[in-house]
Symmetry: C2
Subunit: 442 residues, 2 copies
């Protein structure tokens, strides 16, 4: 029995909702709730696809994009959509869409969704929760016999973990040729797309026109432990951080570790060490939530008894404020100049990728806050340090996201865990916010 099961059984879950004072005395849109048991059942159902052989729910999933497990998970989701009376369609980028018509002509659709692919050796909640919650909202609206003013689009984006590929292609923010020729987890995306019913040769057909959606809302697990530490129910996301990527190349001179005096060395690894410390100092020098990471390092010739002649390493900087991380990069470049001089090396820092920040819509943030408050749930504003499909959608329409707590902040791991109570709370806030947004002029 996994952690998930010890922490929250379904019966305990019902009791805790009651204890939280969620009453159903009156009838009205504010009283509408998703079916928590049904949501849990579909999350468990989805977890069967990509689960390691012989494992239980706690073993997590390897359901990376275009794999057999991804195909099976998508088929499962398509079945749920059909069972909810909607007609799934797959766009050229492999995204699964399901439309529920609205009652006011000419209003643009509201969209809710997430992704069902996972990283290799990932967990049961990242993407899966937002996806199953979106489908659960379809079912709830059916059960309550409610037709929104706007059409509703449920969308399950393809290949989020590869770098928000499905949503990025739909938003037109990825160069299709370069994107589709990448091989990841042993599968070229072009071939992968064909497998899942996409059409790489007509990828432009997946493009959404700017302004073609009224809004996009997404529920996701937090992937950090700010909510858990603060004992808060719902995170209202201020935005998805800008990510600036750099390659660092340090060239010194490889030389015999026994015969080269310390003073004569041009040690690329010593320069790398000083630069890693400088990154730490420059990132933490300013207040705020910015992060900077050297995650990858390769030394050459990487032999015990040779002074390293060359080191290549990665640098990424993230913050909601793109100017702030640009300033940090400038400071790091200055530090690198001094380090190169002190070590007799040459240091080149090349920008390789720049994802702008995706700020969430302030009106929709307020909608999330009001819905949570009405449900008796506490909220906290926070940035998303991870990328999400919602960031792609910000190029097309107003966008907003909420997070529910991750136990221990763990994600991208079989140990990834969000309690069933928190899953249901997030889905209820998403549903209520959708109903509120539907009444707004957006």
């Amino acid at each position: 029995m996994g952690d998930w099961n010890r922490r929250a059984t379904l019966s305990a879950f019902g009791a805790s909702l009651a204890a939280a004072g969620v009453a159903r005395a009156q009838s009205g849109p504010g009283d509408m709730r998703i079916n928590a048991a049904r949501l849990k059942a579909t999350l468990i159902g989805l977890s069967a696809f990509g689960r390691p052989e012989g494992g239980d729910f706690s073993a997590g999933v390897s359901r990376y994009a275009y794999s057999e497990a991804d195909l099976a998970g998508r088929a499962y989701a398509i079945g749920l959509i059909r069972a909810a009376g909607a007609t799934p369609r797959i766009d050229a980028a492999g995204n699964i869409w399901a439309r529920r018509e609205g009652r006011v002509p000419d209003l643009k659709p509201l969209a809710v969704g997430s992704h069902i692919d996972s990283v290799p050796h990932g967990g049961n909640f990242d993407g899966a929760l937002g996806s199953m919650a979106a489908i659960e909202i379809l079912r709830t609206l059916n059960a309550e016999n409610v037709t929104l003013r706007h059409p509703l689009e449920v969308v399950l984006w393809s290949n989020e973990e590869g770098g928000t590929i499905g949503s990025g292609l739909a938003a037109g923010i990825l160069p299709p040729q370069a994107t589709l020729d990448v091989v990841m987890n042993g599968i070229r995306r072009r071939e992968g797309l064909k497998r899942i019913g996409g059409d790489p040769d007509h990828i432009a057909d997946a493009r959404l026109a700017k302004g073609s959606l009224a809004a996009y809302l997404e529920l996701h697990i937090e992937q950090s432990d700010l909510l858990e530490k603060a004992a808060v129910d719902i995170g209202v996301v201020d935005g998805i951080v800008a990510i600036d990527e750099y390659d660092i190349d340090i060239v010194g001179v490889a030389n015999h570790a026994g015969t080269t005096p310390m003073a004569d060395r041009r040690n690329a690894l010593l320069a790398a060490a000083r630069l890693i410390e400088a990154v730490q100092e420059e990132v933490t020098r300013l207040p705020g939530q910015q992060v900077g990471t050297v995650g990858q390092i390769e030394a050459s010739p990487n032999v015990r008894n040779i002074v390293p002649g060359r080191v290549r390493m990665s640098l990424e900087l993230r913050d909601l404020d793109a100017a702030k991380i640009a300033e940090i990069a400038t400071r790091i470049r200055k530090r690198a100049e001094a380090i190169a001089a002190s070590t007799g090396t040459e240091i080149a820092i090349s920008a390789t990728d720049r994802d702008p920040p995706a700020l969430t819509d302030p009106r929709l943030q307020k909608v999330f806050e009001a819905s949570a408050a009405a449900l008796g749930l506490s909220t906290l504003h926070l940035p998303s340090g991870a990328g999400h499909d919602a960031a792609s959608m910000s190029a097309i329409c107003p966008m907003a996201m909420i997070f529910v707590p991750s136990v221990g902040g763990v994600s991208h791991s079989p140990r990834e865990l969000t309690t069933w109570e928190d899953c249901a709370r997030g889905a209820d806030v998403l549903l209520q916010s959708l109903l509120r947004a539907d009444r707004m002029a957006i």
Copy 2:
């Protein structure tokens, strides 16, 4: 045409020796000189074996132990020994010996030699110079019709670059089973030994009894640029440094680079960076010629967007004074404790190998000094930061070494270069020192 050729042609070489005042007016042992042209010819001859296809002398050699090139180089050397009227024999450790009898009964042999294997992509002088000089001394003694008091043993050690394997086995300082099962450059030593005429099943037959040689003398290139910088002809080696090897294992927590706040990270690569800087500081804190090197580093998972959870790296410390590097290691361990605490990581530093220092014999140092002075050559005392077969021999008999300058201090590279003048000077000092040692009661 390579550098070597531009720098020193044979005709210029003769002229420079004349300019150095090397006169042959008198006749006597002090006037005996090796044949510089013959030495050069055999060094060029040996360089053909392992030379990259289509390259010239300046392309260096890949003549690593037990390779086809090593076999061919050994056959060439054996041919030279036979041509010098000696009978080569190969011991169980693959070392090639050639004996020239002495005239005083019961004196133990004086030995001179080096190795002819190279590192992959190595140069034409490391080992080759000392080996060809030893054979040239055989030829010179023949030409001058001189019989020494002691027997003379010329020895070409097998597999020096793998870690003085041939000499280490002969000296009995390597554990044969563990040593012979190592695979390097794709060849298991046990199989390699069979290829070159050794006998891995009777490796103890290669053992030299302690005291079985009167002395061992070796000429080698410097592999650093102290002699070149000081414009000195001959380096008299004080000893071969102690080498202490450590493995460092740093365990932190791998986590999402976007969602893990800086303050919550347990970043193994940041700890590694601080430790690399600490090694630099602790090694250079004390005066002296000690060196310390982190040459190898592996981070895990080594992905751009994950905080590194684990780093493994190497550390080696070298100095003539074993106590000094032990003290430096103690200081590094203390620094590691503080770094582990500051980064939330665990750092384990494990000693994996300890080569004691090999001090050269003071009487033989004086012999080298006197011989050089008599030849009008300047000398400088220095330690050897690199390991040498002579270090193995120090377990058996009095041992001493001289170095000749390496242009730019380059070694283990095709660019390795010692001028032909310096090659001849070194061989002449070796010959004269052998003659002087032969007259001593050692």
